[in-house]
Symmetry: C2
Subunit: 97 residues, 2 copies
């Protein structure tokens, strides 16, 4: 962080991305997707919440541009859009330790 003045717009965007990751369920979803694409079904099984709630969190993750969706017939598959998101996740893991 050598330059102290950061454009306001960037701060807004960056804090939004981070915010999207900051909910425990969403953080967990991103961790899970880190291993590769996953179906809605399996995500719901892996995280402990209702289908409806999971769907809403995934919609938020899509809106914030962190995950991509692929529909195959009646099934929906989610995946991480940008691998750098996983590096950010790994980094956050590192901060705690």
């Amino acid at each position: 962080m050598s330059k102290p003045i950061i454009p306001e717009r960037e701060i807004t965007q960056l804090s939004e991305i981070i915010k999207a990751m900051s909910h425990p369920l969403r953080y967990k979803i991103i961790c899970l997707l880190g291993c590769g694409e996953m179906s809605m079904q399996n995500l719901v099984k892996a995280i402990d919440t209702s289908h409806s709630n999971a769907s809403q969190h995934l919609a938020l993750l899509q809106d914030s541009g962190l995950v991509l969706v692929r529909k195959v017939a009646s099934r929906v598959y989610y995946r991480i859009r940008d691998q750098r998101t996983l590096r950010l996740l790994a980094m956050s893991n590192h901060v705690l330790a």
Copy 2:
């Protein structure tokens, strides 16, 4: 992310740290502190909000363990506790690009 099962406790802790960074003002504060210790006075000048509001956000950053405080007479100085926080910040910057 090779191991898919993350301890629940860690997820909670990590998402809390990220959440602390996810508010635009707090994100900005962390950026500013990235350049080194800063007085409350100067922080308030740099971010566009009231003294009281800044104080509350800084209290939150303290509680979440991201910043440390040092009092000298009636002045208060804040600084980043762990340099890895700044790496996390830099990483988030990188995700956007």
